[in-house]
C-alpha cells in the first residue's frame, strides 16, 4: 500500500485518537504540574462605634478574575504528586522512621488516601482476574458437556452479567444485598443477626465488590475458553484416552495446555479492565470502605465546591504509569516477536 493511500485511509481514525486520547494525556500531564489559585485575600479596615479593626477577607471578584486570566492555576511543579493526597512522601517518611512495628506501618500508610485507593485497586485486579478465569473455565467445561439444544439458552443467560451496564449491574446487586433486599435479609436470617450488613465493615465491602467483579467478568472468560474447547485437537484427546488417561488427566495434560494462549489473552484483557474498577464503587456506595484510583479521580473532578483539576491530573498520571507497568510484559513480548519477524 502506498504511503499516500495509507494516510488517507487512516487519517480520520488517527486524528480522532490523536486529538482525544494523545492530546488529553499531554493535557493531564500539564495540569498535574499546576494547582488551583489560592483565594485572593484583602485586608480592610472596619471602623465601627468601638474603634477600628483590621479584617482579612476573601475578595471574590479578584479571585474570579485571577481564575479567568490563568485557568490552569499556579505552577506547583511536582508538589501535587508529593502531597498528602498522593504519594505523601513526608508522611510515609515519618511513618517509616517512627512506628510500632510492621502492622502499624501498614495501617497508617493504608489511611493515606492514595495508598488506600491503590491497595484496593490492586487487590481487586489481582483477585478478580484469576477468580473469574477459574469460574469461566469451570462454566465452559460444564456448557461443553450439555446437550446441544440447551447450549443457546445457557450461553444467553451466562452472557448477561458481562453485557449489562456495570453501574446498573452493581445497582441491581446492591438493592438485593441491602438489609431490606432478598440476599441481605436472607443472610441476616441465616446468621440470625439482624444487625448484619454487607456495607458495614471494610472487609465485607471488599468481599462484596470482588464477588461482583467476578460475577461481571466470568462470562468473558467463559466465552473465550468455550470457543477454545471447540477447537480441541481430537486425535490428541483420543490417543490420551487410549493411553488410559482419565477425564481429569485429559483436562490437565491436553485441554489446559491447549488453552494457555487463550488464557494469556483473557488475563491481559481482564487486567486492563479490572484495573479501571470504578462503577461498582458508585453503584454499591462503597466509597467509605473501598476507593479505587479511578474513583479518586472522579471524586476530585466531581467536587461539590470546586473541581480539583491538579489533584485529579496527578492521580491520572500515576494511574497511567500503573497501566504501563501492567502492560510492560506484553509490550516487551510483542516487540521481540515483531523484531524476529522483521529479521
Amino acid at each position: 500500500m502506498r504511503h499516500r493511500d495509507f494516510t488517507a485511509f487512516i487519517l480520520p481514525s488517527a486524528l480522532a485518537m490523536l486529538l482525544f486520547i494523545a492530546l488529553p494525556i499531554v493535557s493531564v500531564a500539564v495540569q498535574s504540574l499546576f494547582v488551583e489559585h489560592e483565594q485572593v485575600l484583602v485586608t480592610v479596615e472596619n471602623c465601627g462605634p468601638f474603634g477600628c479593626q483590621e479584617e482579612t477577607k476573601v475578595d471574590p471578584d479578584a479571585t474570579a478574575a485571577l481564575k479567568e486570566a490563568e485557568p490552569l492555576g499556579r505552577f506547583n511543579g511536582l508538589g501535587t504528586y508529593l502531597n498528602r493526597a498522593h504519594l505523601a512522601v513526608t508522611e510515609v517518611g515519618e511513618i517509616l522512621s517512627d512506628n510500632d512495628g510492621i502492622g502499624d506501618v501498614i495501617s497508617r500508610i493504608y489511611n493515606l488516601p492514595f495508598y488506600k485507593a491503590l491497595s484496593f485497586t490492586l487487590v481487586y485486579t489481582f483477585l478478580v482476574t484469576p477468580l473469574s478465569m477459574i469460574a469461566g473455565f469451570a462454566v465452559a467445561l460444564g456448557v461443553n458437556s450439555i446437550p446441544r439444544m440447551f447450549k443457546g439458552p445457557v450461553i444467553f443467560l451466562s452472557l448477561l452479567p458481562y453485557i449489562v451496564t456495570p453501574l446498573l449491574g452493581s445497582l441491581i446487586l446492591f438493592w438485593m444485598i441491602n438489609s431490606d433486599g432478598v440476599i441481605g435479609a436472607t443472610l441476616q436470617w441465616i446468621f440470625n443477626d439482624p444487625e448484619l450488613s454487607l456495607k458495614a465493615s471494610p472487609g465485607l465491602t471488599w468481599i462484596t465488590l470482588i464477588v461482583y467483579g467476578t460475577w461481571h467478568m466470568t462470562p468473558f472468560a467463559f466465552v473465550v475458553f468455550y470457543a477454545g474447547l471447540q477447537t480441541l485437537p481430537q486425535d490428541t484427546l483420543e490417543s490420551a484416552m487410549i493411553d488410559g488417561a482419565n477425564r481429569w488427566e485429559r483436562i490437565r495434560y491436553v485441554v489446559i495446555p491447549h488453552l494457555v494462549p487463550l488464557a494469556t489473552f483473557v488475563g491481559l484483557v481482564l487486567l486492563m479492565d479490572n484495573f479501571r474498577v470504578f462503577e461498582p464503587i458508585i453503584g454499591f456506595s462503597a466509597e467509605a470502605n473501598a476507593t479505587s484510583l479511578s474513583w479518586s479521580i472522579y471524586n476530585d473532578l466531581n467536587g461539590s465546591v470546586n473541581q480539583l483539576f491538579g489533584s485529579a491530573a496527578a492521580t491520572s498520571i500515576l494511574t497511567m504509569l500503573g497501566v504501563i507497568v501492567l502492560l510492560m510484559p506484553v509490550l516487551i513480548r510483542t516487540w521481540r516477536e515483531f523484531n524476529r519477524k522483521a529479521r
Binding site: M1, D5, F6, F9, I10, P12, S13, A16, M17, F20, I21, A22, P24, V28, V139, G142, V143, S145, I146, G152, F156, L159, L160, I163, V164, P166, L167, L168, L171, I172, M176, V182, A185, T186, W215, V223, V224, A227, G228, Q234, R250, I251, F265, V269, I282, S294, I297, D300, Q307, T315, S316, I317, T319, V323, L327, V330, L331, T334, F338, A342
Partner: protein, 292 residues
C-alpha cells in the same frame, strides 16, 4: 460431547451442578429485579420476608392490583426519563456509525500495509485501549470549559468515538486480515484506485465483521458512565448518569422504585440485543483471542 471428555458420572454431575449454580447466580438478579420493579417499595424492599416481593401483599393493598406501573410512571413521566432515553439513542447511533466509518477505513489500511509504522500504530492503540476512561476525562474538562464546548451531545459523541477507536481498529484489522488480499489487488490490476477497490471489492464482503464490531461500539457507548457523567450537562444526560443522579434524591424521598424502574428500562434493551445477536457477540469476544 460426552464422548470427548469421558463419561465419569460423578464428574458429569459435579460439572452440571456447577453450571446450574452459575446460571442461577448469573440470571436470577435480573429476573428478580424485573419482577420486583412492578411492585411497591414495601414489597420489593421487605424486611419481613422476601415472599412479599414475589406475591406483593402491600402492592395489593396500595394499588388494588398484583402489579403496578407506579415506578415506571414516576421515572418516565414525573422525572422525564424519556428525555435521557432519547439522548442515549442519539449518542449510541452516532457513536456506532461514526466509529464504524473511521474504523473500517483505518482497519483496512492497517491490514493492507506491511510497513513498520502499522506496528507502532497498533501498539499505541493497545496502550490507549488500556487507559482508564476517567483519566482521559480529567484531561478533557479544562480545555472543554475554555473552548466552551462542555456539556453538549456532539462533544460526548466525538469523545466516545475516539475512545472507541483503538478497540475498533484492532478488531477490524484482524477481520480484514482474514479477507484475501487478492480480492482488492485484482481489482486494482483492473484499473481501480485504492479507494475504488475498497468500495467495490471489499465493502460487499465486510458486513459480518462490521456488524460484530458495531455491536461492541454500541455497547461501549450505551454502557459508558465515566464520559457521559462528566461531560454532559443536566439537560443532555444519557440514561446511565441520569439513573445515578436519581439515586441522590430517591433515597430521601422514598421513591427508590423510580430508580429500580429506570434501571430495568435501561437493562431490558440489552437483553433483547443479546437475544438477537448472541452469535455475533460470542464471535466478537473470541476474535481477539483466536487471532492473537
Amino acid at each position: 460431547m460426552n464422548t470427548q471428555l469421558g463419561h465419569s458420572r460423578t464428574l458429569a454431575i459435579t460439572s452440571g451442578l456447577i453450571l446450574l449454580v452459575w446460571l442461577i447466580v448469573a440470571a436470577f438478579p435480573f429476573f428478580w429485579t424485573v419482577w420486583g420493579s412492578f411492585k411497591v417499595q414495601a414489597d420489593f424492599f421487605s424486611r419481613e420476608s422476601f415472599w412479599n416481593a414475589i406475591f406483593g401483599p402491600a402492592t395489593q393493598r396500595q394499588t388494588g392490583g398484583a402489579f403496578t406501573l407506579d415506578g415506571y410512571e414516576g421515572a418516565w413521566i414525573e422525572r422525564e426519563f424519556y428525555h435521557s432515553v432519547w439522548n442515549t439513542v442519539i449518542v449510541t447511533v452516532c457513536v456506532t456509525s461514526i466509529s464504524l466509518l473511521f474504523g473500517t477505513l483505518g482497519g483496512y489500511a492497517l491490514s493492507r500495509s506491511t510497513r513498520k509504522y502499522t506496528f507502532w500504530i497498533l501498539i499505541a492503540a493497545l496502550v490507549f485501549r488500556a487507559m482508564p476512561h476517567i483519566t482521559l476525562v480529567s484531561g478533557y474538562l479544562l480545555p472543554f470549559f475554555e473552548l466552551n464546548i462542555w456539556g453538549y451531545l456532539p462533544t460526548a459523541i466525538i469523545v466516545l468515538v475516539a475512545i472507541n477507536q483503538p478497540f475498533t481498529i484492532w478488531m477490524l484489522h484482524s477481520f480484514f486480515m482474514s479477507i484475501p488480499k487478492d480480492l482488492d489487488e485484482s481489482a486494482m490490476v483492473d484499473g481501480c484506485t485504492r479507494f475504488q477497490a475498497f468500495r467495490w471489492a471489499i465493502m460487499p464482503v465486510m458486513w459480518p465483521g462490521v456488524i460484530t464490531t458495531g455491536l461492541f461500539s454500541f455497547l461501549l457507548a450505551y454502557n459508558d458512565f465515566a464520559v457521559t457523567a462528566m461531560l454532559l450537562n443536566q439537560d443532555n444526560q444519557t440514561m446511565v448518569p441520569k439513573i445515578n443522579s436519581f439515586l441522590g434524591t430517591v433515597q430521601t424521598e422514598g421513591t427508590i422504585m423510580y430508580a429500580v424502574a429506570a434501571t430495568v428500562s435501561a437493562t431490558v434493551p440489552l437483553f433483547i440485543l443479546v437475544m438477537f445477536f448472541q452469535r455475533q457477540i460470542v464471535s466478537g469476544l473470541t476474535a481477539g483471542a483466536v487471532k492473537g
